[in-house]
């Protein structure tokens, strides 16, 4: 009998777990990938989506199981703070990137040195320069399209920034009519509008066909042109990795010398299993990873496990433009307005990313009109009129890490008898101040530029499903959970992969940064087992 069940056991089969398993399997390591949820093929999700009553519920096509509850599962998360935390996560092989906008940004050097540059938040224990090659690696693995000449900071005089040693692996997709028109108007008013880098194939890439603009990136890309985490899981399997769906990890064993020795999991039927390995990787999302660590009293000598929960704080301006812009052709999100992404104001105001959504708006338009009591024969005509002019300015705001925002174990238990997550979530003065400034200054400017009629300004914080910080990275074992290699300070053979390690949230989507840190850490781990 082999000494271990595998060289490495990876908990979680999303994009981070998949990249880790793939990297290790490529080096000839034996890997077992444990996934709480089931395996569902793409076509099945498309089928479920098309048979939905409410097609705007992005979670509805995905399994919500009593042993593997997902985002929106009734009474799973116990909200105890002043703000409801809308944790976005799916539980199935491939993870939450089955439904996402596919935005794959790099952080800016200042995003990673927020404390030392602007005196707020925390610093990454790694510099942009040190992570840069892994950003490139992650872009090639995930298959990202973008414009390598863009200034993504809005602060570099239009020249490429942040610096990149390798170009985007695919050229940027072309802008649709709405984005082209909008960009001209915004640029004319000195707004810095660019194409958002994203993981839709702008040409055939690896297994993926070219995006043909189904405008269905969420809840499911029906043709697989957009990257999803199952891609690397499948590749890892072809290299020999073993995937076990329906494996709900509930306990991690510590052995002599602080080494982790085993993980235990429950099957949907409640059977228990134990697996041993030389090293362990927790890649079970920013919510479940700390929950499992807390349940096992592992990696928490700093008392930071589960704390510093961050998301991008979202709010938006919905209006109709004077001229028809025809949103809804092509991918669901394409642009970003970056004037306030970086700059000295960050000492007092949070970093911001504004974006005009490109979802086909006929459903929200119809809801709005029905809510106003508009009926036939006017209804159809007004749906057409408004759908062509609908503008949804969505703002993402950087949240600072705050230890009070945290995940704890609730006394309430799920079907398998495991504690449900208790989430305390609040928003600080820094963030609230920034939102007020946007609503008072920026939104009226957008309205004037497009001759808009404001329909609503939604200032309630909207979850962006970008949870970060709950296994925070740092350079001090007393104040952080992992070091810059994603290695637990407490257990040398335990790695934590994913956006839960990010110590600062920036205002851009965090997956690529999580992936770059993961690929870097996986390469280190591969040398040790």
């Amino acid at each position: 009998m082999a000494e271990y069940d595998a060289d490495v056991i990876v908990v979680g089969s999303g994009v981070m777990g998949g990249l880790t398993a793939y990297t290790l399997a490529l080096q000839g390591k034996s890997v077992i990938l444990l996934e709480a949820g089931p395996r569902v093929p793409r076509w099945k999700t498309v089928e479920r989506f098309r048979n939905l009553v409410d097609v705007t519920d992005y979670n509805a096509p995905y399994p919500d199981l009593d042993y593997a509850p997902r985002q929106g599962s009734v009474d799973y998360i116990q909200h105890t703070g002043p703000v409801k935390f809308g944790a976005g996560f799916l539980k199935l092989v491939g993870g939450t990137t089955w439904h996402w906008g596919g935005a794959t940004w790099r952080f800016l050097p200042h995003d990673m040195k927020l404390k030392s540059t602007y005196g707020v938040g925390r610093d990454f224990p790694i510099s942009y320069e040190e992570l840069e090659p892994f950003y490139g690696h992650a872009e090639r693995e995930i298959g990202v399209n973008g414009n390598s000449a863009y200034d993504e900071s809005g602060r570099n005089g239009g020249k490429t920034f942040p610096p990149r040693s390798t170009p985007y692996p695919m050229e940027a997709q072309t802008f649709n009519y709405m984005n082209k028109t909008m960009q001209q108007t915004l640029d004319g008013a000195s707004y810095w509008t660019i194409q958002e880098p994203n993981c839709r194939a702008s040409r055939p890439y690896a297994e993926r066909p070219t995006c043909v603009g189904n405008n269905n990136c969420m809840p499911i890309c029906p043709i697989g042109a957009q990257y999803s985490g199952d891609r690397h899981v499948t590749r890892a399997e072809k290299l020999g990795a073993k995937v076990i769906p329906g494996a709900v990890v509930y306990k991690i064993d510590k052995g002599p010398g602080g080494k982790i020795t085993a993980v235990h999991y429950l099957t949907p039927e409640g059977e228990t299993h134990q697996l041993t390995a030389k090293a362990f990787v927790m890649a079970a999302h920013a919510l479940e990873t700390p929950k499992i660590l807390l349940m096992s009293d592992v990696a928490n000598s700093s008392d930071q496990v589960g704390r510093n929960l961050m998301d991008h704080l979202g709010f938006n301006l919905i209006m109709t433009s004077k001229d028809a812009l025809w949103p809804g052709t092509g991918p669901v999100q394409q642009n970003a307005i970056l004037n306030d992404r970086d700059g000295p104001q960050r000492s007092h105001y949070a970093s911001l990313k504004h974006q005009v959504g490109n979802e086909a708006p006929n459903v929200p338009v119809a809801r709005y009109l029905l809510g106003k009591g508009v009926l036939q024969p006017q209804l159809d005509e007004q749906i057409r009129h408004m759908s062509a002019r609908w503008m949804n300015f969505n703002t993402n705001l950087e949240q600072l890490p705050d230890p009070v925002n945290r995940i704890k174990l609730s006394p309430k238990k799920d079907k398998l008898g495991l504690p449900k997550p208790d989430v305390y979530y609040s928003v600080g003065e820094y963030e609230a101040r920034t939102q007020a400034k946007v609503i008072n200054e920026t939104y009226p400017a957008f309205q004037r530029l497009f001759g808009g009629t404001v329909l609503s300004i939604v200032s309630d914080w909207q979850p962006q499903d970008h949870q970060m910080g709950t296994c925070i990275m740092g350079d001090d074992a007393r104040t952080s959970v992992v070091d810059k290699d994603c290695r637990s300070w407490d257990h040398s053979n335990l790695f934590i992969m994913g956006t839960q390690t990010l110590p600062a949230s920036s205002s851009v989507n965090p997956t690529l940064t999580g992936a770059a840190l993961t690929l870097r850490a996986a390469a280190i781990l591969a040398k040790e087992v």
Partner: protein, 452 residues
């Protein structure tokens, strides 16, 4: 500059001047050779997946063992850098290697024998202009007796009948037969595995793919295609409302015919229009079927649930209709093709459609970048069979429904380039020859014993 240095410089300049015309001539020979090499599609077989072009190493798996294409870059140790012009010509014209060994007809010398001496020289000039790649040839792994190359003498006697084609006055035939070696795949083979006489380009099965009837027969061949239609297909792989290429033919288009000089393409197309018509295969394969239903958009209505839809329809609706349309119309330009008026669904064999489902389509040319995802990881054999049959029945030709076993066989064959089939055919006949020899030997032995 000293006097002697000056002398040397002048001398060097003179040498350079006198060499210039020769260099220019070499250069034009290389340019011509590049065109011919592309038309012969040498790169397809002489490149390993992800490997350096022309450095060889592509495996051809057969029940008789595995053969690997050799390195044909001009590396002196591992490539053909030490081959003389005569040796190179002998290989292409007679199927004999540098050391006098017989080559396997995976290498289509049976066709290349008709390439003119001058064109062979140009091909060699081009190959010798490439950067030498030091990459050892992988030794073939043929099992006894197929590792005996001299068996090829027997095969050649039966099957190798080189013809002479005038590269100028018979340009279209020359491009089709000598360079592009179309008949290697598109002509059926007889008992001796030579091209069946009178069935030239009437269609055949190659590595699981049907290479269709491309004779001028209006019903069974491509007689209804205009010269421009044929040219469009060979240039882009996409002839909307008739045919789109995938698999080995897609490779031929990507590597070879999409780069062909227009004059040669025209000559080839005009020649195919003159090829004697054959009534083999399905009648009207590129005109079968028509739009189905209203093609109503799927969003907002119950697509399949509770309708008693078959598994094939459910899979089609979920996995295929996004690009091909619920009514099968595609998007018009043919890059996302219609499923009716499509030779793959209209053919009387289901295999090309099943292979496209299993392996997807990647056909990138300067004209379009067609890409269909592969469903081999997502669909079981049963599901591939169900969706294949549903699509053929609904939009094309319902004849010969596919079996699950057929799908399994298609799935498990590593999809090799077209040339493998030639080797397979040879291997089969070699086995036949051996069998005949063994029987003869036994008969002789028995007769001798009786005499004793």
């Amino acid at each position: 500059m000293g006097r002697s240095m000056m002398k040397i410089s002048v001398a060097l300049a003179l040498v350079a001047l006198s060499a210039a015309p020769a260099l220019a001539q070499d250069q034009s020979e290389i340019v011509r050779g590049k065109v011919l090499t592309t038309e012969g599609d040498c790169v397809a077989c002489h490149t390993a997946p992800g490997g350096t072009p022309f450095a060889g190493g592509l495996p051809f798996k057969t029940p008789m063992g595995t053969i690997y294409s050799p390195n044909i870059t001009p590396d002196k140790d591992t490539g053909i850098g030490t081959w003389t012009d005569a040796e190179f010509l002998r290989a292409l014209h007679q199927g004999i290697g540098k050391n006098g060994e017989h080559l396997y007809p995976a290498f289509p010398y049976t066709s290349f024998a008709a390439i003119s001496d001058g064109d062979v020289a140009a091909i060699k000039a081009y190959l010798f202009s490439l950067k030498p790649v030091h990459q050892q040839n992988t030794p073939n792994e043929m099992v006894f007796p197929y590792n005996i190359r001299s068996l090829m003498i027997g095969w050649n006697l039966l099957n190798f009948h080189p013809e002479t084609i005038d590269p100028v006055t018979e340009r279209g035939k020359y491009v089709a037969d000598a360079l592009e070696h179309c008949a290697e795949c598109h002509s059926p083979r007889g008992l001796t595995m030579g091209v069946e006489s009178g069935k030239y380009l009437a269609g055949a099965t190659v590595d699981g793919w049907t290479a269709y009837n491309i004779t001028s027969d209006p019903d069974h061949g491509i007689g209804t295609w205009s010269v421009d239609d044929i040219k469009t297909y060979l240039k882009t792989g996409n002839l909307p409302g008739k045919a789109q290429a995938a698999g080995p033919m897609g490779e031929v288009i990507v590597n070879s015919t999409s780069h062909m000089p227009d004059a040669d393409l025209t000559a080839l197309a005009e020649y195919l229009k003159t090829v004697h018509g054959q009534a083999d295969g399905a009648a009207g394969r590129s005109a079968m079927g028509g739009p189905v239903g209203s093609g109503e958009a799927l969003t907002g209505y119950r697509a399949t649930q509770g309708k008693g839809a078959s598994e094939g329809e459910v899979l089609f609706t979920a996995a295929c209709s996004t690009c091909h349309g619920t009514g099968g119309a595609g998007e018009g330009s043919g890059v996302l093709p219609s499923l009716y008026h499509n030779s793959v669904t209209g053919a009387d064999t289901p295999n090309n459609l099943a292979l496209a489902v299993l392996n997807g389509v990647k056909r990138g040319t300067a004209f379009n970048d067609a890409s269909m995802p592969a469903f081999r990881d997502e669909f079981s054999d049963e599901q591939v069979a169900a969706v294949t049959d549903y699509v053929r029945k609904t939009f094309g030709n319902a004849a010969n429904p596919i079996t699950v076993q057929q799908v399994s066989d298609l799935r498990n064959d590593v999809t090799p380039p077209a040339a493998i089939s030639v080797l397979m055919r040879w291997a089969e006949i070699a086995a036949g020859i051996v069998a005949v020899l063994v029987v003869l030997a036994i008969v002789i032995l028995v007769l001798r014993r009786r005499r004793v």
